[in-house]
């Protein structure tokens, strides 16, 4: 049997423009898995709340709203700076990318500081009751994720300042940005549950 040329791929792109890259699908896979974890935590919270006699337990008050709301704002703002950085490199603006990612890293670092102070001020421990356990676990889960995006994106920022990313070579930015969005937006259901939840359940 003769082997003949069917398709010639010599002129096709070797870069990964956006969604065509396997890495984009890979990060989507990670986000899907982690979203399932987020959802499972939320369901566990609601399950414990539904079977509790009082939520939060009598003697406890729901945690204050101010600082977590500011954190929500900071995380949304950091998503915006991340988005602007990504848009800059799509136009080939390397400096714009570096500034955008660095700003995001700084904003998320501020969130870490504020969250640390807030957690230290919690009046209950994870050892006290199931309510304390789930609040601390969800908080810890999200805290670790913010730490990881700060670390990962700091590396992206270093590479960006060194001019590694270009209009074509930007898949690293795309996947980092997507994961950044996930971590920031995962705060929304957690924020609603942890801070609005007890006020709704408590009525």
């Amino acid at each position: 049997m003769k082997v003949v040329q069917g398709i010639d791929v010599s002129d096709m792109t070797r870069f990964n423009p956006d969604q065509r890259a396997p890495l984009w699908w890979g990060i989507l896979g990670l986000i899907t898995i982690e979203s399932a974890v987020v959802l499972t935590f939320c369901v566990s919270y609601m399950y414990l709340a539904a079977y509790a006699e009082a939520w939060p337990p009598s003697g406890e008050s729901a945690p204050p709203m101010l600082w977590p709301s500011i954190n929500l704002g900071l995380l949304m703002l950091s998503s915006l700076t991340m988005y602007l950085g990504g848009r800059a490199i799509k136009r080939g603006n390397q400096r714009g990318l570096a500034i955008g990612v660095t700003a995001s890293v700084l904003l998320a670092s501020a969130v870490l500081v504020l969250r640390s102070l807030e957690l230290m001020a919690y009046e209950f421990s994870w050892k006290d009751h199931a309510y304390g356990s789930i609040v601390w676990t969800i908080s810890g889960f999200h805290y670790v994720h913010v730490t990881s995006i700060v670390f990962g994106s700091a590396v992206v920022a270093i590479l960006a300042w060194r001019g590694y990313f270009t209009q074509q070579r930007q898949i690293g930015v795309v996947v980092d940005t997507n994961y950044w969005y996930f971590v920031c937006f995962a705060w929304i259901p957690f924020y609603l549950l942890l801070y609005w939840g007890p006020r709704v359940y408590g009525q």
Partner: protein, 636 residues
Amino acid sequence: MTFEKPTNSRDVIDSPEETSRLERTWHSPGGLLGWFTHVNQRMIGKRFIITAFCFFLLAGILGILIRLQLAGPEQKLLGPELYNQFFTMHGTVMMFFFAIPVMEGFAIYFVPLMVGSRDMAFPRLNAFGYYVYLIGGIVLFGSLLLSMAPNAGWFNYVPLSSKLYSPGYGVDVWTTMITFIEVSALTAAVELIVTTLRMRAPGMSLNRMPLFVWAALVMSFMIVFAMPAVIVSSTLLILDRLVDTQFFIVESGGEPLLWQHLFWYFGHPEVYIILVPALGMISTIIITFTRRPIYGYTALVLSVVAIGFVSFGLWVHHMFTTGLPQLGMSFFTAASVTIAIPSGVQIFCWIASLWGAKIRFATPMLWVLGFFAIFVIGGLTGVMVASIPFDTQVHDTFFLVAHFHYVLIGGAVFPLIGATYYWWPKITGRMMSEAAGKWSFWLAFIGFNVTFFPMHQLGLEGMPRRIYTYVEEMGWGDLNLLATIGSLVLATGFGITLINAVWSVFRGRRAEPNPWGAPTLEWAADSPPASYNFRHIPVVHSRWPLWDWDTDRERAVVTGLRNDRREVVLTSILDAKPVGVQVLPAPTIWPFVSAVAASMGFIGIIFHPIFFVIAFFLVAFTLVAWFWPRRPWRND
């Protein structure tokens, strides 16, 4: 761009220099240190398969010891503590360390070959997943030698598994290693999904994809959605044990049933995660040994997808005796019975395919026929226990033990052994002995039924599961003795396959590229395949490319891939049109280093939470080293 058969295309002529250059580009480094750098999908797949079968052997030995303990009333072979450890380890290892990894191993090895790719989407992640699995398995089994093994059952129900009732490190080992190994399963799942969706040979549209690849795809999606639940439940349990959280402690507002919901939300799909790839193996074998297109390709695909969906709605049927609301339980009965419909569609499509065909009763086909007999019985008892009144009667008896061994061994292990005989020549380049294969099958088939069929009766007579002994007056002695004899016959049957496999590697008849006359692409590669899988990526025009090649005069291939670096074709999801070329990374030690760093964290937290923090940063640094771009940066 077209996928029609090319007209007036120029011939592709291979030069030996080009081939040897391709070999140099794709070969895996030799030596001991080189072993830790391999990223090739066939290497990784083979390691998964061999390691998983080692765990099958070890867990099987535990099973035999359990049967010997139960052979007669008031035996003294194992004490209650050892017995608890053995049945916990038997279940845990079989489910987590054998069944899933072996299915993923076969998928990792064969999916890229079946879709006509040179490797998978994330070769380094693949290697990482294997090391995680290997380390996790060694630690779990090592715990048995250190008398630290888990002993609260593979389901680890709280409060039995709480610190109060299970002191010591056993349950800690279970929860951490289960979470750890899920990382491995999840990496492989994402890898398989992306490879299947984006790296198929040009022209292999979704409706031309081999049925095993469909099954592996569904299995991977199920893993992605099921495993997070067990990760969360294990995390909550380890936190309860390690830092005194109160998730499952009733006095502090905790809910023990939350554990069961989370565990079975994962645990039920788990059964189908194991079954679904086996269904793909069966279809593959039936196509080849009837040598005609399968009946109802679309129905088979849709029913596998349906099984994947419905399996997520059944978990409460494991909890009928926990006192849930009646309406909820009725819903789960209905859902449990519903899954018999897509399963039935599969069986009827296979019967229709076999009907009137000239079947070749080679060894792989025998194991498939054995599956029919055993799985149908397991399915029928499954419909029985899905009914609340019946389940209330037989709950926690040997009837359940009989039922799930019929489903799991019949549904997964028999097809798996058949698939091993079927694909062995591709993996090793040698044929396994047919005569020994037939002996192995008949001994295993008879031994299996002698072992597990009497357990139905024992269950109906009221013998509870998880007891380490019983008194003579109960009258369970004869059937238990029979079951133990059966288990020895079953083990002999599997043992013959093991000897056959090892023997054939050295002495087996050399295999041609396509010894069974199969139609799918993996048989277009050499036996065993070259490091680059295919000299030329084929262009596909139908579901049965190799049968087409028997009749066609010309065979179209992809040209233009560079041979001095690892390039693969990227195609579109639905119709597999080429859209670009992906350059894959080369071998490296970093996945291994990362896995070691991660394992430090998972093993460490058994003893102290601080290891989580240390390992977190260690892993982060190893990942940076793994991904750090090396100059010169690629500019084309």
